[in-house]
Symmetry: D2
Subunit: 102 residues, 4 copies
């Protein structure tokens, strides 16, 4: 199942703080029921591509609904098909390797 | 109409050259009929989000069809709704500003 | 102090698993002493830009030292100067907003 | 020699138009003498990593000098060491492959 990191960036808002927009996006992600993790650089979504794109379409729209005129949305998809690879497994795999190096 | 820069990166292919995969992706983009421009860092697509995501889904799949086991796809959407903003206009707008600075 | 999310992607390695390269990068980050957090989409670095770029230069080099011929490195810098904004504070700020929405 | 695509995104400016900031960044890139190409999604820089990072540090600073309080800078480095790969060659390589597919 693919992982996607998505960052919605409202532009021209008049304030350097963007948390009110991001919080509404996260609320929408939570409502969607998709598996997700919030990070300081966006939200990691885990699901089929159709599901991921459906959620991204919705959250990309949120700042516009709140009056913003321009939005940049960054998406980084990591899709591995030779084995199961959840966000957690991906992280653990690096951490386990790291232990063998120490 | 939103612009999207999309970069499909096949991973673990065994060769540093990725052009055979990229060429197949570009062929698919051309077949889709969406307005697009090839750059050294991906393809710029211009269309509605549904159309853009439909094309991206197809090209993300191409390296898998060619035997690749993992694909990273990077998407950068720029969506401005206060005025028409094609990729060409966006570029020209900066170039015009630049002239006034010189 | 700026935050940067950095993802080093070795290309053409012959295997979809990249954890052995990533683990060496993380080891280098740890040795550098810079404040950092590992996520499933890279490492978040916190420090002055010079420090961040110095670490990135080192880890970008690691796959080459391990025999890789091509490396893509993605960097996303978030630099806010109106108030202190650590990775943790940025995350908490969204989480606090989220509570007020629920 | 590495290629880098760099996008400087001033945040919270109060207007969806960012071209005045981007034009100043491009002016700075031109003054630096580094080989570059302007695209609708940023500037492609070609040079050694030290040179690239030095230019990026300067242009990342420009919106701050113009009064902006928060800047996101996106960098995508593509570094291939098995053969010469300028931005132009990279593009031509895909275009040549594409011709053989048609």
């Amino acid at each position: 199942m693919p992982l996607a990191n998505v960052t919605v960036i409202p532009l021209g808002t008049g304030s350097p703080s963007l948390s009110k927009y991001i919080a509404e996006c996260v609320k929408e992600i939570e409502a969607s029921g998709i598996k997700h993790t919030l990070t300081p650089f966006g939200s990691i979504l885990e699901g089929e591509l159709d599901e991921i794109f459906a959620v991204i379409k919705k959250i990309h729209e949120i700042p516009f609904k709140m009056g913003v005129k321009r939005v940049a949305t960054l998406i980084n998809i990591d899709d591995r098909r030779d084995k199961k690879a959840s966000a957690e497994q991906k992280l653990r795999s690096v951490e386990n390797r790291l232990k063998t190096l120490e």
